[in-house]
Symmetry: C2
DNA sequence: TAAGGTTACGGCGATCGTAACGATC
DNA sequence: GATCGTTACGATCGCCGTAACCTTA
């Protein structure tokens, strides 16, 4: 048994058990991969993969169980490298942040800017993805930290930190009827609504607020990010339901923002990262910076 | 980085950072070990060990932190091998049981005998050691399962299962004054006492029972196992405080057993094993057998 | 001077790459 | 015939062992 065999198993999972693709990922020829797998299976005495002919089509019970240990080894191996790199120079490295458009545009600028001042040597990569895939990005090691708005399953191998609480708000063009007077869910529901796609930025919270009162929402347009929603609100296509912090007093002067915190329950934005994963010092500092910026938002 | 380098770090810990001894344990020459360590440190970019001249005298902060990951890797590596071996033939293997004389002699015979009938192919090694070292045997991988009587720290990486509850009893020669009448701590304390060495078989419980009442114990002889205590009781050296189950109605007819459960709090015998350690099926069965035998004792 | 560690060098074996072959869709 | 995996064989590179050397108790 050696580490490249362990690595191979991991890569095989990522490539749908395709030996050729695994070989490519590992920068060696396919025959080498084939042999290493055979050797490993021979060493253990039982096959790890189900085969149809020569093709790998699944894992055996043994394979599945061993995969858990393989994951642990790979994790620890990566940790060793990261710890050592961090020790060498904790001011240099790469920070992969998985997040959504809304967070990237309206929440992250401040903390990221502050972070850059302290750690100019750290490269920041934004891994933008839909909310339901944010956690997957962590598991796939494509991201170190995820910033999530929608509910996250309390997975055991995940560390979750509540970042800040926020609520939805209404944006309408000035002079729109809803720019004045008391707002109720019923009144809202009488207009075509523009808001986030399902699964994005608290959309499910909006959904359930209306469902609870028996009202049906007429969602004319659903988009993944606030800018698109605002654009179509300006075109008069309907009223916008967006997160309050996405309203920019300067550039959005032609829109009226109306508080909806009494109608729609608040949502929580959370920071997530893998429990057994080593985070470099700068990543830990970045998380602190996020929490700091989050506190300021509340004021 | 490769697995033998990881293994080397583990072995180095076990040999007090002695390269020569580590080489011996790994069945390679010392120079090879020296080189592998250098290569590994070079790869990480920082030393893992503190050196005085050429000698290794301690670990650096980095080394200590990396050791945690090394431990995880070695554990997972062993698990892989054990899982595979178990899958090949779950009726064969080796079971290392760390325990004390008392348990080995008075509790284990029945469950072990039953276990052997079901798993004749499993070799059983008894790792006898003093109670305070039982857990160390687990960590050192000298034992798979430990059976402890004295208190065990609730370590996070340990699985503890309560096996059975037991209490101390008094043994005296027939015709001894204490063979009749009510027994109190005060009355007991007026005789020279023979019991277990400190740290053995609930000795601390005895200790505290007397201390709580302000009485001082006159312990004439302390031994690690019951047989020795009984021997000296027969010689009239004093009264024996032993675990009740160590009294054998057949061979101990010349001794009188007197219950002390109202005077000395009961103790618990526990089964312990490492949390992240794979236990073969037969080991799991053995634990079940222990718990079964434990239940019968209570009757 | 014994014990512990490093450095130099030659040899062997593990593992890779090339290439030809087999199977399955 | 395109994709995927296996087998054979030569080449290479990593790692070990021998041995000489260095340092410190």
């Amino acid at each position: 048994m050696n580490l490249s065999q362990i690595e191979l198993l991991r890569v095989l999972q990522e490539t749908n058990l395709n030996l050729s693709k695994a070989a490519e990922k590992m920068h060696i020829v396919q025959s080498a991969v084939s042999r290493q797998l055979q050797l490993f299976e021979a060493e253990l005495g039982s096959p790890l993969f189900e085969r149809q002919g020569k093709k790998l089509v699944g894992m055996t019970a043994l394979g599945l169980r061993i995969m858990e240990e393989v994951t642990a080894i790979n994790r620890a191996k990566n940790n060793i490298q990261n710890i050592a790199a961090d020790f060498l120079d904790s001011n240099q490295g790469i920070l992969h942040i998985a997040t959504t458009h809304t967070q990237a545009k309206y929440f992250l600028p401040t903390p990221i800017q502050r972070f850059r001042e302290k750690y100019p040597g750290v490269k920041i990569y934004m891994v933008q993805s839909s909310p339901d895939q944010l956690i997957d990005q962590l598991h796939a090691r494509k991201a170190d930290i995820a910033i999530c708005t929608e509910k996250v399953d309390q997975e055991s191998d995940l560390v979750l930190k509540t970042c800040y609480e926020w609520h939805h708000a209404l944006v309408v063009p000035t002079l729109h009827p809803l720019s004045e007077g008391e707002i109720t869910l019923a009144r809202l529901a009488s207009y075509p609504v523009l808001t986030y796609s399902f699964g994005f930025t608290g959309r499910s919270t909006i959904e359930s607020a209306f469902k609870d009162t028996g009202l049906s929402l007429d969602i004319t347009l659903a988009a993944a990010d606030t800018d698109i929603i605002k654009t179509y609100v300006r075109l008069g296509m309907g009223v916008g339901l967006i997160t309050a912090m996405a309203y920019d007093p300067l550039t959005d002067q032609d829109l009226v923002l109306r508080d909806l915190s009494h109608l729609i329950p608040s949502s929580k934005t959370k920071i997530a990262y893998l429990k057994h994963n080593y985070l470099p010092l700068y990543s830990q500092h970045f998380i602190a910076e996020l929490l700091l910026a989050a506190k300021e938002i509340k004021c």
